[in-house]
């Protein structure tokens, strides 16, 4: 008995706590390293080098950037709505990290095993949108405001088929639990049976974390920097890290939902998970290097007129097949 709790419960709780903290740090460090990875890869694909001076292969560039950003003046414009302005960047970081709570890294590694894991993840990613909208609103700057508005519209439209695309996966697994979903793919990965929903989830996920080519909320050419125009110092850094956390998150979710998570021969589960997730992270960077940003109305009509019908058709066909075979 320690502190009135049975010893093994206590030890288990302690271990869980350590595991949570390790996952938290690993994810944040991965997101920070992504800044370097992305710059190097964009350099590679543009026939340049990217940062290659600080430390081996320039990997300490991240540390240098962090030190720099901590010492930058953290300026809050006098016309901004101060409390909201301060909270907004924290929200995106918080919601992204919260979503990692339900991601099953392997059969045993993972913070919680919620039976509504998928719903929790959808809810958290919707909450994350508040960060961008509030940041844009609180800045009291027309460009930031426009960025925030764009985010709102983009999220509402793309979240719809993000959810719809996942319905097929849920039907096949018969559960919202991410563990069960992974285990249901032991024979065949969902990407084979649910290819349309994989494509839709990829696109919608990209829009959800407003990455290029769906980075309309922060389109430099039109909106200076969009919703984070007025942000500086570590608050800007939080938006930045939040965005990279989003990439890690969407990549790991694609892995879990469509590519069998930790399942794979020979190698241990965590390695498979990292390989698959890393692949999608690289793919997102490649997407940024290769694609151009669509016009705003193109984005909207592509979502509502093309992706939504495909998602609905996919749901209908999948449910028909599931009913027929059961």
């Amino acid at each position: 008995m320690i502190l009135g709790v049975p010893t093994d419960t206590f030890v288990n709780a302690l271990l869980k706590g350590v595991e949570t903290i390790v996952i938290l740090f690993a994810v944040v460090i991965a997101a920070a390293l992504l800044i370097w990875v992305e710059r190097r890869l964009l350099g590679l694909w543009q026939d340049r080098y990217g940062p290659n001076r600080v430390g081996p292969f320039g990997i300490l560039q991240v540390a240098a950037d962090m030190i720099k950003i901590f010492f930058k003046e953290d300026w809050i414009p006098p016309f901004a709505d101060k409390p909201v302005f301060i909270i907004a960047p924290a929200v995106i970081l918080l919601t992204s990290l919260m979503t990692f709570a339900v991601v099953p890294f392997t059969a045993t590694i993972g913070v919680v095993d919620l039976n509504i894991g998928l719903l929790f993840m959808l809810a958290m990613s919707s909450l994350g949108v508040y960060s961008v909208i509030l940041g844009g609103w609180a800045s009291d700057n027309k460009y930031a405001m426009l960025g925030g508005l764009r985010t709102a519209a983009q999220m509402i439209s793309y979240e719809v088929f993000m959810g719809l695309a996942l319905l097929g996966v849920v039907m096949l697994a018969g559960s919202f639990n991410l563990h069960t979903i992974v285990e249901s793919q032991a024979g065949l990965w969902n990407v084979v049976t649910q290819f349309p929903s994989f494509v839709i989830f990829l696109i919608a996920g990209c829009a959800e974390i407003h990455r290029a080519p769906f980075d309309l909320p922060e389109a430099e050419q039109e909106l200076t920097a969009g919703y984070h125009t007025e942000y500086s110092g570590m608050k800007f850094g939080m938006f930045f890290v939040g965005e990279y956390l989003g990439i890690v998150l969407i990549s790991s979710l694609i892995t879990v939902l469509f590519f069998g998570g930790w399942l794979g021969p020979v190698l241990p589960g965590i390695v498979w998970f990292l390989i698959k997730t890393g692949f999608f992270i690289l793919f997102f960077v490649l997407l940024r290097a290769a694609t151009v940003r669509p016009r705003y109305d193109q984005l909207m009509s592509f979502g509502w007129k093309i992706l939504l019908p495909i998602a609905l058709a996919n749901v209908a066909i999948t449910s028909a097949v599931v009913v027929a075979t059961s």
Partner: protein
Amino acid sequence: MLSILRTIWMIFLHSFRKRDTVLYPEEKPYLPPRYRGRIVLTRDPDGAERCVACNLCSVACPVDCISVIKGEDESGRWYPDTFQINFSRCIYCGYCEEACPTYAIQLTPDFEMGEFDRQKMVYEKSDLTISGVGKRPGYNFYRVAGMAVGGKDKGEAENEAEPVDVKTLLP
């Protein structure tokens, strides 16, 4: 849609291309001889300063970064007492070189002049003067100019005719 996939594939193929970047401090780029970089003051083939402190370069300079103060020696020849170029303002346009009647001021293919202290970017005459003739070998202004100066009278320069006596009608 297909064109987007094609673009993505083509960009991916760039992973195997040679990179265009020149890794500068390790790998120096080739600079042509007429590259406009650090400015020098050259000497004539006899080893004397070429500059005659005419201030033409200073006037031609669009950013006013040259400061020359004239001095004169016993023989009546002008030379710069001070000659300063503020390289933190110089835009390396080369107008000074074009304006100079004596080919004294010349731009060289060297640009590695970074400093931490702005004041160090002001180069004095002693920093600017080099011992050679630069891009104009064999040129000596006073030997071709009509100016009478220490030991050389009018009409004694190379390719110069005797001065005409304007007070007589005889040839």
